[in-house]
């Protein structure tokens, strides 16, 4: 499946979601796996746009690519925003607490990492590479 390149803004997130959903259909993922993969990619892409580009006042793009194998679907997200390694963020430890005592951050990364079979972050030069793997 041909990769796509979109601008690093919130309007592009729907394009990425559509791409991921199409890839999931091609890989014959069921609706639950498709939803979770779309959510995982959406959460990380949202972080790239808001933290990696907008807050850092950097303009850039996001490359999205799907790779299929017999056993898995792999989605790559690549950007040139601020370095952001979600695997180094602590998972929220207040999920049992009432909402009024909750911290407002960290839920997106938690949903992303827990929504796919494997999540990998790599830094290559000035680029962040996020890889989401779902078993077929």
């Amino acid at each position: 499946m041909e990769s796509i390149i979109v601008s690093g803004n919130l309007e592009s997130l729907d394009v990425i979601s559509d791409y991921v959903t199409t890839a999931a259909e091609k890989a014959n993922l069921d609706s639950k796996k498709t939803y979770k993969l779309r959510l995982a990619v959406d959460e990380i892409a949202t972080n790239i746009v808001i933290h990696g580009y907008q807050e850092a006042e950097i303009k850039g793009e996001i490359l999205c690519k799907a790779e299929f194998s017999d056993t898995s679907l792999k989605i790559h997200l690549e950007d040139s925003g601020m370095q952001y390694d979600a695997t180094q963020k602590e998972q929220p430890d207040d999920l049992y607490k009432p909402l009024e005592e909750r911290n407002i951050g960290g839920l997106g990364i938690y949903l992303a990492i827990n929504g796919v079979d494997k999540y990998i972050y790599e830094r290559h030069g000035n680029s962040n590479l996020n890889i989401f793997i779902v078993n077929r």
Binding site: Y35, T46, Y96, P98, L99, E100, G108, L111
Partner: protein
């Protein structure tokens, strides 16, 4: 599907009917309605999610905002969430802090 958040207020109750996809680009609309709801000082906030097909963490953050803005004494009801939205609510432990129902009947809740 286009996102919509429609606020209806009655005595003691603010109801927001959500439809479409709740995500980073649409959460500000939801937050605005929560702020309007909070301004009426309701005893309960009822969120109808039957037609909400997708909810990202941006939506969860508005729920935290709602609870923190309205106060711990204001009960939040989530009505008829779809399966995967419910999955997210459970995975993040939100089901411990909100009341989840298939349908909302004000008279029964008041009773």
């Amino acid at each position: 599907m286009e996102f919509n958040a429609i606020l209806e207020t009655a005595e003691n109750t603010a109801k927001i009917i959500l439809s479409g996809e709740l995500k980073a680009s649409t959460a500000p609309t939801f937050k605005t309605e929560v702020e309007k709801a909070a301004a009426t000082n309701p005893q309960r906030l009822v969120l109808v999610m039957k037609d909400l097909s997708y909810m990202a963490s941006a939506g969860l953050r508005v729920l935290i905002f709602a609870k923190q803005k309205m106060g711990a004494n204001v009960d939040i009801y989530i009505i008829a969430p779809q399966e995967m939205v419910m999955d997210t609510i459970k995975k993040t432990g939100f089901h411990h802090s909100v009341k989840i129902m298939d349908e909302y009947d004000n008279d029964k809740v008041e009773a």
